[in-house]
């Protein structure tokens, strides 16, 4: 991850502040930074979203393609994740520098969605064993200021909400083979149910306390973080400890409970916001990338 150099005096300052529940920018330990979400920013995709969390900016584009289902699960489609750390974010990502971080993020995303309930994969099936929808979720990091996992997961949820998959009709042609036809009407499409898509909460252990949505300076003061992905019901789909330090079991239990609490409260306002944005329809003021 992009790092900043933090002096010892600064580390002590941040540590003492967090101990008293006051962070450098005035937030409490469980507060997020200012978040901006916009969907449908890229017109060539089937679904897209851009999320700005403080100075971290993430762009997600989803393209749906017709492919062959996996052999072990012939009646389901699947999702493929790819995270690209653009060199725009920091010069460390130039060339192949961002590859390691990108693979780590995509592997975690695979784990987060590796359960039957997050996305209804059966709705992505066209004909069992032969054709299915494959959703390619491509994440692009535009700016990096800490807390990538949270921003990426919110952007993916917004982009999946925004995804419009065209409806297909299967007809059999003369030789008995199957022919796939896309409907002509661009508005005749299938939407995904994103109720159960989880959101990731990253908790950084700083001193004896943990903080949500750490900036790069706070990250430099912590040795270990816990990533926990929570659904709107409060169930946990993935939990991982990252960082080169160790955690006390009691801290792990505390952080899990806090992560679940924070994660659960993220979903309701997010869904409300997405539905409001959707209801504005063509009257919506598009902010785009310069806002």
């Amino acid at each position: 991850m992009a790092t900043v150099q933090v002096s010892e005096a600064e580390k002590v300052y941040i540590l003492h502040g967090i101990r008293d529940d006051l962070r450098v920018d005035g937030r409490g330990c469980e507060d997020y930074r200012h978040m901006e979400i916009e969907t449908d920013v890229v017109s060539n995709t089937d679904g897209s979203a851009k999320v700005t969390l403080g100075h971290t900016a993430v762009l997600v584009g989803i393209k749906a393609e017709i492919g062959k289902p996996r052999p072990m699960v012939p009646k389901e489609g699947y999702l493929e994740f790819f995270v690209d750390c653009s060199a725009n974010a920091t010069p460390e990502f130039e060339g192949r520098g961002g590859e390691e971080l990108g693979t780590e993020l995509s592997n975690t995303l695979y784990k987060v969605f590796n359960n039957k309930k997050s996305v209804d994969l059966r709705s992505l099936c066209i004909s069992a064993g032969e054709h299915c929808w494959v959703l390619y979720v491509d994440v692009l990091l535009l700016q990096c200021d800490g807390n990538l996992y949270d921003a990426i997961s919110i952007a993916i949820k917004a982009a999946l909400f925004n995804t419009k998959i065209p409806r297909v009709h299967i007809s059999s042609d003369d030789e008995g083979g199957k022919e796939i036809e896309l409907s002509d009407d661009p508005y005749d499409c299938m939407r995904l149910n994103v109720e159960n898509v989880p959101c990731i909460v990253t908790l950084c252990k700083v001193g004896h306390r943990y903080v949500v949505d750490a900036t790069l300076q706070e990250k430099a003061c912590s040795v270990a973080s816990l990533i926990i992905s929570v659904t709107h019901k409060g169930t946990v789909t993935c939990m991982r400890k990252v960082g080169g330090g160790s955690l006390d079991p009691e801290s792990v239990y505390e952080m899990t409970e806090a992560g679940k609490r924070v994660g659960k409260t993220l979903h309701a306002p997010l869904m409300k916001l997405l539905q409001e944005e959707e209801s504005l329809g063509t009257k919506r003021q598009k902010v785009g990338f310069l806002g």
């Binding site: 072990m72 169930t235 006390d248 079991p249």
Partner: protein, 274 residues
């Protein structure tokens, strides 16, 4: 997808014969006894065979067998590091690499490292790093390689144990041994140290609370150095699962300590006669 250009491959569309088998994969009943006779809902880890000092060329090595899972690990180092960043001046660097032999799983794997191998190597690295005293080895690099010879479940947990044993055998200074334990939650019951079948069974009809959890633990210091879970579980189940894994690690600790002591005694010079 990287392809292996050094081998003559079979036909492009070859598939595993298990896809064509007539009987469906046996779904283990969620409430019966486990296939190998161990108990559900109890900390019943498989008996473990460990031996250190197998590979003569490596500084330290270890071999672990738990049920049918077989892993070996080698440690090379500390050796001088190639890249000289500023951070290397103050403390050492630990590199980990975990690979599966292509014949280790029921489905043939490839020699090229897939994303799963990279992911496991990263988790191994995160689990081992808190335990190694890297500040005692500035400008050095310690390499840990783990090779899975047979995958019969709970591979990451045993890899962590094996790697930390190899590090100890190599004489690398550590704060404590790192032990790994994993569980698989299936509905309301859980199984500790799952086998391959138990890990990959599609699960019972009630798909509530399904998932797996692996914990890497430092027993003397009571610290968790690695934690990873997937599937979908409630927070209470996860917390209970972490406690169960910690108990499993405590059960394993005396065996590992004994194996290490035996290896050291064997390697040490016999006491002089005078």
């Amino acid at each position: 997808m990287p392809t292996d250009t050094k081998r003559v491959r079979g036909p492009e569309v070859s598939q595993s014969p298990s896809l064509f088998s007539c009987k469906p994969a046996a779904v283990l009943p969620p409430h019966g006894p486990r296939a190998d006779g161990r108990q559900r809902d109890q900390v019943d880890v498989r008996p473990v065979f460990v031996r250190c000092g197998l590979v003569s060329q490596a500084k330290g090595s270890a071999y672990i067998e738990a049920g049918n899972t077989k892993l070996m690990s080698c440690v090379y180092g500390p050796r001088e590091t190639e890249r000289k960043d500023e951070t290397d001046m103050k403390c050492g660097r630990l590199t980990t690499d975990m690979r599966f032999a292509p014949f280790s799983c029921p489905e043939r794997g490839s020699w090229i490292q897939g994303s799963q191998d990279k992911d496991l190597s990263l988790m191994l690295h995160e689990s081992l790093q808190p335990a190694v005293c890297l500040h005692k080895y500035p400008r050095s690099q310690i390499e840990v390689n783990v090779m899975v010879l047979e995958n019969s479940g709970s591979v990451l947990a045993h890899a962590v144990t094996c790697a930390s044993l190899a590090l100890a055998d190599a004489g690398i200074e550590m704060y404590d041994l790192v032990l790994g334990c994993s569980i698989r939650q299936d509905g309301s019951s859980h199984v500790v140290d799952p086998t391959y079948m138990e890990e990959n069974s599609c699960g019972s009809v009630s798909s509530e609370n399904q998932g797996g959890l692996t914990v890497a633990f430092l027993p003397s210091l009571n610290q968790i150095s690695g934690l990873q879970s997937d599937g979908e579980m409630t927070e209470e189940t996860l917390t209970a699962g972490v406690r169960t894994c910690i108990e499993g690690c405590y059960k394993l600790y005396p065996v590992i300590q004994q194996a290490l002591a035996k290896a050291v005694r064997r390697a040490a010079a016999p006491p002089s006669e005078s």
